[in-house]
């Protein structure tokens, strides 16, 4: 069953220099329970596509259905069913971990006792229990990323969007986050759509990859299928064959805690 279905999804930005076609007519179907990765160089249109599918940015062309609801006609219904974790996160450094989680639950309409219980359960699942009363400003990059993920999961969404989820994390934290994503799908059947420009992440985590280049789908398939199709030993070689260039350099900048 398709949880996302798009047809000619496009986004054009008007700038002083003229029109910029960030996404050019993407046709896509995502099955429920799938882990799908958008892979592409910086500026390829991955995040713009994700922002459109998560209702943050209205498409300028095409149509999409997300979790059974029309993206343009019923964005509120879409928002009730999706979770979204932005590349830079979305944590207020003036708050504690607990207050962020409880408020997030309340924003999804949970009564306070239920939001509080949900916060405790999420903290347990994501190894944040000891940190519940700590200021979010005092969290490490990995801890903060786990909190970002918890915030995106507060309402138990059927579909979770992760925008560059491991950017700036150390290898240990990256591996832990990959394990969490797999657990989400295996234990709860959550569909996960993520963007990445880390080829190792795409190879290890995604069951299916959509390679986006210049705002359009350049290739699609499982990592193994993409490698086989292009006679490549590694995903990097396949990526090079598809896009004609290498991936963006790995960003090792730690996540800024403000």
């Amino acid at each position: 069953m398709a949880i996302i279905s798009t047809s000619g999804l496009s986004r054009t930005f008007r700038t002083k220099q003229g029109e910029v076609h960030a996404v050019r007519g993407i046709d896509l179907t995502v099955r429920a329970g799938e882990i799908l990765g958008f892979l592409g160089p910086n500026g390829a249109g991955k995040s713009t596509t994700l922002r459109m599918l998560s209702t943050l940015l209205p498409p300028t062309g095409g149509a999409a259905t997300v979790c059974g609801h029309d993206l343009l006609r019923d964005p509120v219904a879409v928002r009730r069913k999706i979770g979204y974790v932005a590349q830079g996160g979305g944590v207020d450094p003036q708050e504690t971990v607990r207050s962020e989680l409880v408020t997030q639950g309340r924003l999804y309409g949970l009564p306070r006792p239920e939001a509080t219980a949900r916060a405790a359960a999420l903290a347990r699942d994501l190894d944040l229990t000891e940190l519940l009363d700590r200021s979010t400003a005092a969290l490490s990059g990995g801890q903060r990323r786990r909190l970002d993920l918890a915030l995106g999961l507060t309402h138990r969404p059927a579909l979770l969007f992760l925008d560059e989820p491991t950017t700036g994390l150390d290898p240990g934290s990256r591996a832990a986050l990959w394990a969490l994503v797999r657990r989400l799908r295996d234990d709860h059947g959550t569909t996960v759509v993520l963007t990445t420009h880390h080829l190792d992440e795409a190879d290890a985590l995604a069951e299916r990859l959509v390679i986006i280049d210049g705002g359009a789908v350049a290739a699609e398939g499982s990592p193994a299928a993409l490698k086989a199709e292009h006679g490549a030993d590694t995903l990097q070689d396949a990526f090079l064959a598809i896009t004609g260039r290498g991936p963006a350099p790995v960003d090792t900048t730690p996540v800024a805690v403000q």
């Binding site: 509120v76 996160g89 979305g90 408020t103 924003l107």
Partner: protein, 249 residues
């Protein structure tokens, strides 16, 4: 939905404010300094209006508090935008109007509290005004701060950084203060300045509060003040809601 969401967000921002006594009291400092060090200079001077100097100055200081305090409220939303908090909230089904109202109500309560502090200090300094007039003054402060905070958030969403927001607000607020006769009534101004000040809506508000402080409620000045405040409020809510609804805000 709207009430629930507004209450949740108001609670969040109110708790943040309560954790910062500095923020609660510091905003009232400038008007209090004017009250203590500028107010006594006006005693006995002819100010071109009914009432004594305190009845002329204190309404101006009240609106100055609202004008400068609420105009800078947008700094908070720039920070939230940079932290990604606003985007996180916009992916939830929370009402877009509540995203605006939760903040502006917190601002309104904060500035109303500071206005009460200011009036209490003014009473100690010698202000004598009828209670209904004082309450009418608080009503105008409420509408002014609500409107200006909303408009400040709108501007903050359009500008990328605090470095641009601060000067922009100063550029707008300073002429508004000078041209609306907050410190001294525009009745003292030369004709051209008086005419110019009629294009600044805050003038109608401060004149109305000055009428209220002298016990005059059923006046044309009061009517103009109410109309200006209502117009500002409608404009602010309309523009604010549209901006917060905008998917790219």
């Amino acid at each position: 939905m709207l009430l629930h969401d507004t209450a949740v967000l108001f609670g969040r921002y109110a708790r943040q404010t309560l954790r910062s006594p500095f923020q609660i009291f510091f905003g009232a400092l400038t008007p209090l300094l004017y009250l203590f060090f500028f107010g006594p200079l006006l005693t006995g001077l002819p100010l071109g209006r009914a009432g004594d100097s305190w009845q002329v100055l204190v309404p101006g200081l009240l609106l100055q508090l609202g004008l400068f305090g609420a105009s800078f409220a947008g700094f908070a939303v720039i920070m939230e935008k940079n932290w990604g908090v606003l985007e996180r909230m916009r992916v939830t089904p929370v009402s877009r109007l509540a995203l605006l109202l939760g903040r502006t109500l917190r601002d309104t309560v904060l500035f109303l509290f500071q206005a009460v502090l200011l009036v209490l200090a003014a009473l100690l300094m010698g202000l004598r005004a009828p209670l209904p007039g004082i309450l009418v003054g608080f009503g105008f402060v409420t509408l002014l701060t609500f409107s200006l905070a909303s408009l400040s958030y709108v501007l903050a969403l359009r500008l990328p950084s605090p470095q641009e927001f601060g000067p922009a607000i100063n550029t707008l607020a300073m002429p508004a203060m000078l041209l609306s006769g907050l410190m001294l009534p525009m009745a003292l101004a030369p004709g051209w300045l008086d005419v110019l000040s009629h294009f600044v809506p805050f003038r109608y508000l401060v004149d109305a509060v000055r009428d209220a402080y002298t016990g005059h409620y059923a006046t044309a000045t009061m009517l103009y003040g109410v109309l200006a405040a209502a117009g500002l409020t409608v404009l602010a809510v309309t523009v604010g809601t549209r901006t917060f609804r905008g998917a790219e805000a």
